[in-house]
Symmetry: C2
Subunit: 192 residues, 2 copies
């Protein structure tokens, strides 16, 4: 039990520091110090910082998908689900004043060339995330509320990319405006 | 003269390594080794790695704006200029097989929270870049080829964010598809 908890502590500290400072700025020493465990214990639980990074990426998806349940709610009209979903994620990041940002976008920028293992995990998370948006768009295309001109999979991928880019810019500007513009263009141009 | 050239060598190595490995993965030692200069000489020319990073960001805009001249060419119809511009930048990154990516997007993800100095430079580059796209959109709104429903400044900001997000995803997927979807949705939904 103690052993399991030590691993959890290291993992939680890594999640926190990778979000706060990025992957390369957070050393194994920083992570074990934050977790309050001896540095040597790290390698009893993780093969490498890279392996830990890949696990953290995979674990980030359940955090994202808490919001994503909004996308799958059959009691709400599809277009409204998509609108509410992006409102929820935008509010989430606005409450944090756009510090930290999204681990998936951050690691995509920082590690796509550096770690094949992490790049593969990122691709998996993007695929699941896009799929969740695609399902709602498809439902809208089926009930006629969203035009079929462009297939749901492409619209979903486009929206997720556009949102990640808007969050990056919101972080640089320290303001919500890029995310509000994203929501406006999505509703007034892309999904209608 | 020799002193000037040493500074240039350090600067060129920093530009190369920051693009290749990011800011935090590239140490002053890495940069001076790559430049073939003594580590101690770094601080004769730059106050800190952060100050160098801010200069590199500012210098990245002229590189971007080489493509951006396409956006300002009055001999070409505005919508066609925008299409050609994004074709040019997408080809640029496709030729590099999506390694490295865009310094502006990468540093936004890695450094927005870490360096106020670099964050401010990023905001300036984004503003200039958005402005270049806005001018072309405005020309299209004036000649009636682009609808006026959403103001040019917002459309320009949206497109730049969406493109940065698409490039991030192209890097993770190691394929051009996200950039092609960006171009398709831009032309079929956003600018028409």
């Amino acid at each position: 039990m103690a052993r399991h908890s030590l691993r959890d502590d290291i993992f939680a500290s890594a999640m926190k520091l990778f979000l706060k400072h990025g992957f390369n700025y957070s050393s194994v020493q920083d992570i074990t110090s934050d977790a309050g465990v001896p540095k040597g214990s790290f390698y009893n639980h993780f093969e490498s910082k890279e392996a830990l990074g890949a696990e953290v990426v995979a674990a980030y998806w359940p955090e994202i998908s808490a919001c994503a349940t909004i996308l799958a709610d059959p009691k709400v009209a599809p277009l409204r689900r998509i609108k509410r979903y992006f409102e929820a994620v935008n509010n989430y990041f606005a409450e944090r004043e756009f510090a930290e940002g999204c681990m998936i976008g951050n690691f995509s920028a920082e590690l796509s060339d550096q770690s094949e293992l992490i790049r593969e995990r990122l691709a998996e998370v993007y695929a699941s995330w896009t799929q969740a948006i695609e399902v709602a768009i498809k439902a809208g295309q089926t009930d006629g509320s969203i035009p079929k001109q462009i297939r749901a999979a492409d619209l979903a991928k486009f929206l997720l990319c556009a949102w990640e880019g808007a969050l990056l810019r919101a972080r640089v500007e320290r303001q919500r405006e890029p995310l509000d513009i994203f929501a406006k263009v999505m509703l007034k141009k892309i999904l209608c």
